[in-house]
Amino acid sequence: MDRLIQELPSFLSIWNIIFLLKAMGVTFLLSLIGCLVGFSLGTLLAIFRKTKSALLIPLRILIVIYTEIFRRIPFLVSLLLIFYIFQIGKITDSLFIIAIVTVCLIATAFISEIVRSGLESVSQTQWDAAKAMNFSYYETLKEVIFPQAWKVIFPPAFSFFILFIKDTALASQIGVMELTFAGKVLNNKGFSPILVFGTVLILYFILSFPLDRFGKYMERKYATN
């Protein structure tokens, strides 16, 4: 305990704080980009899966295979797989881009499932009614289905965002300079692990707790309506 108190001033030097905050930014950016891309692509996949035309059957099968596969591979394994594929393909050296690509691939698979279940929560009669009004498929989605579905989509999509803030901790394994890696670096510099990992845990908590609250608030708001 005495050691911790002795170390505290040198640990909380301005450079260490900047270092940790920057790493926190990287963590946030990783999950934010992943979720934004995942949300747009995932919505697209979910919409294609909802189509009925016989021409698009192969596409629908591909989407099912994609979502099933990427929801069943651990983040660590897919990260390493993408890392090595990029290495032999000589695509890029940037670890950040590799991590982003992996996050996007997985987020797309997960969020497309969330969006799909949201779309399915809207009853079939709504689709039929829109068809009877001679709405096109696009108009049906835009005017009828999404205004009702996004209340079901938003809360789980938000908790998924938090899940991804936590999962990006694994990106430290390929050496992306995010929060967990920063913790490892400081630990290797000789600071006490209790201090370092305790701080990292608290920083993660600071990052995801407001989002968690906000998600719960949204959930309550839409549940009562």
Partner: protein
């Protein structure tokens, strides 16, 4: 120089890899059952305890669901030796996963508690059911129907989470993939096989859970989403 995939160099390691999958399975089953047990205790305290106890449980759940499991295990593995508690990698991972699972299971099981309606219990009491009969015929069938889908979903997520153990040197599925990678340098081959094994074991798990859910608890789980 291009890279050619040579799977024949890694085929001899497949039995070794599958034995690792067995260890992953042991970790997830142990952590899942322990997490469910502690989650039940926490959920009971959260529902029936006094204010201080309830607040403690809420704090525990918020903290563990808002920080990454990886950093929690880092803390257990690297920080606890500072105060004289030395954990083996396997035990550290198991404790970390259990603590994390207990927080999630508390939330899931609390939702189950809330789904029991008072008038059902009243009806059972009117029929002069004993406490055991009430639990066996009224509470359990109802609760399990609500709980089974999210619990089995969490089981799959935990299976994916076990890959974290590799980082601490546990020789489970991913850990053995690391070993083989270090021996053969056939990275893409070995990690794609590992990913395939994960897909297969989670798929079998979903299949079994769907069958159990259907015949014992009348809970519906979709095998392919």
């Amino acid at each position: 120089m291009g890279y050619t995939l040579i799977y024949s160099q890694v085929t001899e390691y497949i039995p070794y890899l599958l034995a690792g999958a067995w260890i992953s399975l042991q970790i997830v089953i142990l952590a899942f059952s322990a997490g469910m047990f502690f989650g039940l205790i926490l959920a009971s305290i959260r529902t029936f305890g006094n204010l201080t106890l309830r607040r403690t449980v809420i704090f525990y759940v918020t903290f563990f669901t808002n920080t990454p499991q990886l950093v929690q295990i880092y803390f257990l593995f690297f920080a606890l030796p500072e105060i004289g508690i030395l954990l083996s990698p396997f035990v550290a991972v198991l404790i970390g996963m259990t603590l994390n699972a207990a927080a999630y299971m508390c939330e899931i099981q609390r939702a189950g508690f809330l789904s029991i309606r008072q008038n059902e219990l009243d009806a059972a009491r009117t029929m002069s059911f004993s406490i055991v009969q009430q639990v066996r015929f009224v509470i359990l069938p109802h609760i399990m129907k609500v709980l089974f889908p999210p619990l089995s979903n969490h089981y799959i997520l935990m299976t994916l989470g076990t890959s974290m153990a590799a980082i601490f040197g546990v020789e489970e599925l991913t850990g053995r993939a690391f070993n083989i990678n270090a021996e053969t340098f056939r990275s893409v081959e070995i990690f794609s096989i590992t990913a395939l094994v994960y897909i297969i074991i989670t798929f079998i798990a979903t299949l079994l859970l769907a069958i159990i859910g259907k015949y014992f608890f009348k809970a519906k789980i979709r095998i392919i989403q």
